[in-house]
Symmetry: C2
Subunit: 332 residues, 2 copies
């Protein structure tokens, strides 16, 4: 069923049907009603593809996730972020295309996704410094928002939290309690957020007049198991830490678990602070002190920034920084 059919049924031209459907003014009420009735009767839904062909808008935005997206999904950060983005899309009447395509994997397919005109814009769940897709993407000129700042692409819009500041605050909090040997269980340094949180950790130590001890810094892949392993390793040091800043909550929970296995207690023996404030953090034993980041807002703001970018509202790159807060529970 097409426009023509409605047009015939309502005894008007296709142009008029189109006007009614798109809420143009300058259509006389009784004509509008006739059209709407025909639409009602037939259950007509306009063909989105045909519409897109002429309007150059698909109302579809892409969410590009990193190659290792399988691990990504296990991360509670993404488990909250992705539904937020999806919801934001629905709220704004946009469709969401999920893509885990990588450059090396399927060059041609990647090209056709991104440059085939299917997408109005793209959100890049970027993270790595050297993501191979980014350069192409940015050159393509497709409206784009990065989820997280990226030092190499100042011209790109992004939404982020202040990872450095947030991490610094968490570590300062530990230092203020008199903790002397504060360990860092970190994310991969290849991630921008990983590097930022590490830098925040170091800055806080220096500000507190504490030394930076490389043996207290353990780089991990960010998983629960890695947290366990890291803590286990830290406990074997001659001088084990009296506090741990874990760069995300899964790591922190792993750390807590390993402490428990070793017969140690948090915060008495070792204070632990996490990052993310994932829902289960409050239910850990002991409940986890952690940096809360507004993941939901992050998703919404990112979508909204992208939509504004698609509308061409900006001449300069936009950088939105959302606030974090340290949530004090029992673990530190």
């Amino acid at each position: 069923m097409s426009l023509d059919e409605i047009a015939k049924r309502a005894n008007v031209s296709r142009a008029t049907v189109s006007r009614v459907l798109n809420n143009y003014p300058h259509v006389r009420p009784h004509i509008r009603d006739r059209v709407l009735q025909a639409v009602q009767e037939t259950g007509y839904i306009p063909n989105a593809v045909a519409r897109s062909l002429v309007t150059k808008r698909t109302n579809m935005i892409g969410l590009l996730l990193p190659q290792d997206a399988r691990e990504t999904f296990a991360d509670p950060f993404f488990a909250i972020l992705i539904p937020s983005i999806a919801e934001a899309c629905t709220v704004h009447q946009r469709y969401l295309m999920l893509s885990m395509v990588t450059l090396n994997q399927e060059e041609g397919f990647y090209q056709s996704v991104l440059r085939g005109g299917h997408l109005d814009g793209v959100i890049v769940g970027v993270s790595m410094f050297d993501d191979p897709i980014l350069p192409q993407l940015i050159q393509d000129g497709l409206p784009l928002v990065l989820l997280g700042r990226h030092p190499y692409y100042p011209q790109a819009h992004w939404v982020n939290i202040d990872n450095l500041q947030a991490a610094s605050q968490a570590v300062s909090y530990l230092a203020a309690q008199g903790r002397q040997r504060i360990a860092l269980v970190s994310l991969p340094a290849s991630l921008v957020a990983g590097a930022d949180r590490r830098d925040g950790y170091k800055r806080a130590l220096l500000q507190a007049g504490l030394p930076i001890d490389q043996r207290l810094i353990i780089e991990t892949n960010g998983s629960y198991q890695a947290g366990q392993a890291a803590m286990s390793q830290l406990l074997q040091l001659d001088q084990p830490p009296d506090a741990v800043f874990a760069a995300n909550d899964p790591l922190a929970l792993g750390v807590l678990h390993e402490l428990q296995n070793a017969g140690l207690r948090a915060p008495d023996d070792v204070a632990v602070v996490g990052f993310d404030d994932q829902p289960s953090a409050a239910y850990a034993s002991p409940p986890l002190t952690t940096v809360h980041q507004p993941i939901n807002d992050l998703g919404f703001k990112t979508v909204e920034l992208l939509l504004e970018a698609i509308d061409g509202q900006f001449s300069a790159p936009q950088h939105r920084i959302l606030p974090t807060t340290l949530v004090r529970r029992a673990s530190a």
Copy 2:
């Protein structure tokens, strides 16, 4: 840049360019080369929307997730399933549209997504018996595959595991060890899978000659915290259980945690079996005995079944059942 431009550049007609691009036979090699060279030089990518308008194919499939998708994403089952589906789409050169739209929420938007011609077919991450979207969807006639069987819609294709049989096997395993009071920490009965696993539990009890004790059956929302709460409740019974079958792994891990809190040990005091075999199950303490389901395969088979359905290969509804295995670790 459009077909015309390539046509002019290669000094052929648009039809010929189209033929080359779609690998038609009957194009003389030197003409084909000329066209390909023009494509190369210009970096031309055909407009997918225009193509879709005439071919009636968008190469895009939808993944419809339930209303409570936010919880859904926290479930490791979906954390594995969704990337699998995404990967299967990439492998088969299809795009994936993620949708959490619900009927009540945005009727119009829902309609335009599903009936606007954007989608070649839909995977429904169905679960509830009375999902309000399903009737419409099935009537719409859009190619569709359910993720999990549904008793009310025999005409729909689906891919599933045999939940009843798998649960039954797990409980029989406990009974064979001489466990007398086997509790069930179940999923909501409003979920088909929840009901199936509960029925399997009951069947195994009856087959083992054990009574069905309603006090030993606790219905939950399937979360880790719910598992803790359920176990806590079970331990307050006059005669607490000596085994627990948890209907998914988060529940089982919560149960284990609560046992530990109560100073009890698994499997000595209470044996615990889970369901899913999520990656972290092997790292639990004790490592979790659980029903392994091939979530990855589930994702791939579902996509492949949908693609076949889109090709119109079936006259009868297809039901694919994938095998499960009980993975014996230390918790039971």
